[in-house]
Every structure is written in C-alpha cells, then in structure tokens.
Symmetry: C2
Subunit: 417 residues, 2 copies
Amino acid sequence: MRQSQLFFKTQKDFPKDEVAVNAQLLIRGNFVEKLMAGVYSYLPLGWRVRQKIVRIIEEEMNALGSAEILMPALHPRSVWDATGRWEGMEKIMYQFKDHSGREVGLGPTHEEIMAVIGKTVIDSYADLPRTVYQIQTKYRDEPRAKSGLLRGREFTMKDLYSFHTDEASLAEFYEEAKKAYLKVFTRAGLKSYITEASGGDFTKEYSHEFMVETDAGEDETFLCRLCGFAQNKEISKLKAKSNCPKCQSGVIDKVKTVEVGNIFKLGTKFSEPVGFTYKDTQGKMIPVVMGSYGIGVDRLMGTVVEVHHDEKGIVWPESVAPFQVHLLQVGEATPELQQFGTNVYDELVRSGVEVLFDDRTRATTGEKFFDADLIGLPWRVVVSEKTMVQDKIELKRRNETNVKVMKLKECEKMFIE
Amino acid sequence: MRQSQLFFKTQKDFPKDEVAVNAQLLIRGNFVEKLMAGVYSYLPLGWRVRQKIVRIIEEEMNALGSAEILMPALHPRSVWDATGRWEGMEKIMYQFKDHSGREVGLGPTHEEIMAVIGKTVIDSYADLPRTVYQIQTKYRDEPRAKSGLLRGREFTMKDLYSFHTDEASLAEFYEEAKKAYLKVFTRAGLKSYITEASGGDFTKEYSHEFMVETDAGEDETFLCRLCGFAQNKEISKLKAKSNCPKCQSGVIDKVKTVEVGNIFKLGTKFSEPVGFTYKDTQGKMIPVVMGSYGIGVDRLMGTVVEVHHDEKGIVWPESVAPFQVHLLQVGEATPELQQFGTNVYDELVRSGVEVLFDDRTRATTGEKFFDADLIGLPWRVVVSEKTMVQDKIELKRRNETNVKVMKLKECEKMFIE
C-alpha cells in the first residue's frame, strides 16, 4: 500500500490523559484514535493488526472443532433476570430503557444468551458435546478506563462456549482449550502463564487465567521464571522470594501481569436457571454442563505493544504486524529514484510480501525514519540515490541496529521464508 | 463439516410474531435465532452466509482504493451536538446516561465521528482524496421491527466515507462507488436498480438508493423493467402505467422494493460544524467535501432470502451459500454405507469443495430431504445403498427437479468450475 494514498498520519498531539504506553504509541502511530475514555476507533493500520489477531484466534478455535457464530450486544432484561445477574452486574452493565419503556442492556458477556440459544439446538445426549464461539463487541461501564486497550468500556472479545453431558466431558475439552489458548498467545508473540484464580461471577470453582508479564498489568501474580509456575496473588498462600512449590529450585517473584484470557468450568450454573437440559439414554432430563472461554482481542493487541516496544516506538512481531515491510524512498524524489522505488515496491508486492511504501514526496528523510520506528514494521527497506546507483537496497530489522546493503532478490528470500 | 457434530438443528417451533418470510425461513433453517424484535443471533450456517457477504463487500470496497477501519458504537453526546443530530435523531437513537451521569448513545450512523477523526488525519490538499470504510454494528430503536433481517434494531452496516477537496472530486468518486455497489449486489445474486431519492437527514441534495424488487419491500418504486429506469415514488411526478420517460417504449409499474444500499453527497454538512478543513495550495482553510455510502449487511442477507426461495425453503445463490454442497447419506447406516459416505465426503473436501455432510444416523431419509430443501445449498449429493452398489452418487441442483446418477469424479468437475 502506498502511504501517500492511505488514510493515515502519525500524530504529534494526542490526548494528555492517556497514561498507558500502549495507548500513547498506538495513538501516535495512528493505529487507533480515542473517542472517549475506554472507547477507541481502529484506523487502517490498527484494523490490520486487529484482523491478524482475529485470524489467529479463528484458526485455533476452528482447530478445536468449534464453529463461529455472532450474538447481539443489545439484550432484554428478562434473559438476565433468570440468573439474577441483571441486578448482580448493574454496577458495570449499561442498562437503560428503549423508547417503549422496555428495559434493555448492553452485554458484558453472553452466558445467559448462549444458554437460551442452546435450548433450541440441543435436545439429547446425541447432540453433545458441542462448542461455538464468537468475536464480538462487549460493553462494561468501567469506573476507571486509563489503561488504553487493556481495559475498554467498548471492547472485542472472543468468547467460546462448550456444552457437555457431564463434568468428565467438560474436563477433557477444558484441557484442549488450554493448549489452544497457549498457542494463540505464542503465535501473537507473547509468553503466557496459566494461573489458578477465583471464578468470580461465573463459577464457584476455581478458573484459570492466562497471564502475560508486563509492568502495565493490573494483576499481581506469583511467578517462578524457572519452571513457569504461576499463581494469582489474591488466592495464593505463597510468599515472595520463597521456593517454588512446583520445581523446588526456582524462586517466587512478585510480578505485574495482564490477563489476556480466562477459562471457566461453569457447570450447570447457567443451564439450570433457564431450563437448558438434554435427554439422557434413559429419557431423563439432565441440565447441560457448560464451559466458557474468553480472550480479549483489543487487550491482546495492547499487551503486544506493552511487551514489544522500545523508546522509539512499537516493535511488532511478524505474525501481527500490519505489514511485513516498510519500504522508504528517501532523499530528493527525482523521476529516476521514484521509478526505482516503484520497481522495488511492485516486485515485493508481486512476491506476495505485504509492503507499506512511504512514497511521500513532502516528508523529510528524518521524518520517514522517525515514523518507521514509531510504526514498527518488522523489516525496513530503504531506497535512495546511493543505493540506486548500485542497484541495491538497504535492509534493517526493526529490532536490530545493523543495516545491510544488498540486491533486492537476496532480501526477498528472507521475507518469503 | 459433519452435520452430526455441528451446533445446528432445524426448528419446528419458532416465534409466532415473525411475519417476514426471510425471518421465518432463516429461523426454521437455524441460520439465525431471535433474541427480541429486531435483534438476532447468527448461528453457524447464518454466520457463514454473513461472512460470504462481508467478503464480497470488502473485495469491492478495497478495489475502490478504500481501507478498512472500525469505529465504536458507543458515542458521547458532545460529538452529536455539533450537528444538532443528538436532538434531531432522539426518536430512533438509543440515548442514556453512564454510571457517572455522562450522556452517551449508540450510533445509528457515523458521519459525525468520521468528521472528527478526519480532522486528525487530513491537513492539506495533498492528503485528499481519501476513503475509508467499516463493517460495524449499528443501532436504531425502530418503532416497528417486523421485517426480520430487513429492519433490525441492532444491525450491521458497511459504511464508507470519502473526503475531497471539491464537488468535482466527490462526483468522480461517487460514480465509481455506484458501479462498485452494482457489482456487490450482482455478486450476491440480486438485480438492483438505482433510484434518485430525498437525502433525508444527511443532505439537502438528492441521494441515490439501490433497490431490489420484492413484495417484502417497504419502499414503493416506479420501475420500467424494459430499460431499468427507477424512481422513488415519494419524489416522483410519474404515474403508474405511463410511458417510461427514459426509453419511451417501456411502461412504468408500481413495485415494492427493498433499499439494500444508499449513497449521499454530503458536501460540507458534517465537516463545517466540527471544523474539519484542509489547507489549499494558497494556504487557505477550506471545509472538506464528504460523501457517505451504506450497505446493510443483514438486510442484504434477508433480501437474498426474500428473492431466492420457494415453498420448500431457501435457494441460496452459490456466491453466498454457507456451503456449496449438501451431502446426504440416506437409508440404513450400514458400516459399508457409512464408509462410502465418508469416502465421498473426504474426496470432496480434498478437492476444495465446501461440503455439509448430513451423516446423522438418527434422522429419517424424509427428514434429511426436508432439511436439505429448507437449508437450500446449491447442490445436493445423495449416497445410498442403491448408489453405492454402482459406485455412484445422485446429483441434484436445489433449483432444478431432475436428478442425475453419476461417478463422483464427473460431478466434482461441476463444483470446481
């Protein structure tokens, strides 16, 4: 894509109330734009990152045998009253009346709606197990929304729901889901730890959280870096600097983490109140056993930025970068250099490489380098008068300092590998 | 996909208040599920149709040189007050207070938000023209929501916005957008007509609507079937049965239509109130000229069903069908027949054909044929004891009556073409 034609401009002025690094870099890099606290627009570069994350999640959820669906955000009160959560969640749920006086709310989660839909699809033990997921917009009226994409009032979640005849079937899928979650985070460039945590509103059992270490995190986790053992500090009886109870040789640290995913064994908490049952082999009606599994899409994107940046800007992992290559044409834009730049661009595009071509004629070389570091694409390719006369290009990785001068064919091989 | 493992069941009971054919068929076929009037969930088959429509739209918008973005649904009152539309749209906009008492609303459209974002990206004539689009959830508190997917309270729109230095640049893009819109509807299996209409809330100029003829439509359009001339009845001075003013030889009919898309020349109506300007070559600040271009995604899906169905169910056009082929294994499920069915399924999947395999052992042959007609995939392939002994399959198109018995290799050729 030619930068000169893209709806895009790195920002010098941005909201002074943004304290989170992810929000500062994403706004300055014009990935997102803030509409109000906790509510952001995704601009073209940000949308591309978001889509890459969505694709990774979809691939791993499909590999689990789950099918994608889409539930609405606008919910009638009646469905939430069945479990008592209309009142239980009123502090964080947007609840209001429509023009006819009917009470409606914006869903912060979908267990109730899912159980009601499940009733229409599942009748018998032969219809189980099943699993579906959605990638959908959710709402929480957060009292504080100061963490950029880490805690939004409007945000996108992947929420998956599983339906089972019994706890054993749920436990089996639950372990598969754990593995899929670790894969998602690894593919997005994040090292994650699984912690046991309280189930909160969802279940009386313990649940599991997927934590990524970063100072921007709002959670405190006891972590043994040696073996990866982790425990939510809130429910832990451990002490800092004690020996790791798992590997015995590591030491427990007190670290800040962001929760990028969580999984819950719901049991029959949501199926019983709405009468979501199946017929067993004897014809007896039994409540369906459920699990729910969440990943915050925007939060994942914000976490990637918190973990992968330096003082100059973002350093995107290849898997979620909006483009692989930032091609910069620098120096006086002579017709010859413009032609040379265009040839390099066309050749890279033809090879299937995703390229953002900074072909702006009104930006200085300094501005182009500054913007390239801020935007943070994995590879920077520079063409200039100097490289043109040698019929070469300059190649640099965003996370390395050394610059290599080489023929285009040579560097293409690296991108395609 | 194996039907026996899909979260899916055709419905015998469905909401009695659904009068629209599209809602009746889509609910009975388990494509969608109604949560409340005008608010639907998309189940796995419905989600696949929706994604195919989304992909068609994305391809055609990208071909126009537009880039995808995503704006939020939750808006602060302040942005809407700039144009006076907070009060102007209060009859159909969901407006409420958050827990801190701040007035917020759910966006029925995004011109105001877009103009505010545009201010941060566009400075100079060199930044124009530009265009961006989103595929996003919108809200309208419709007093009547009785038309299924044709008129939702929560619905998905593709809305594209274009930014220009002057009316001439807008006019040029506007004509390109018209062509792209016709392509989208043709690709989705719909014949559409362009009508001139009043611009409503958006502009004082006339706008254009894209109309599809169906009795389920809420609009009345004068149409000449001979040359395709169409005019919104509300603003027309024509009379039914008069000669067509364009081709002179056709006759004007009074027909019911659904508006599947609309495009508006906004001019500076939204840029002026928020101070969205650019610097011209003389350094003078000039308001940006805007256009907006909408397609209702759910409405498009509902319209396809209204146009393409018969008394037995839906007849999906290939381009938007959830799967191309419905493979039915019928008769007693002997191990030999199950193996034969599985072989046919595996072979079709390997060839890159999208197959829904009705491998249910508890459904009767009659139920399988009934469901296949209701769901309406373009091709039906049947394997039975009778076809197995000949090492053949039975092939039938959903919209034809004759059944052909042939080798699998022969029929594969048809799907891949």
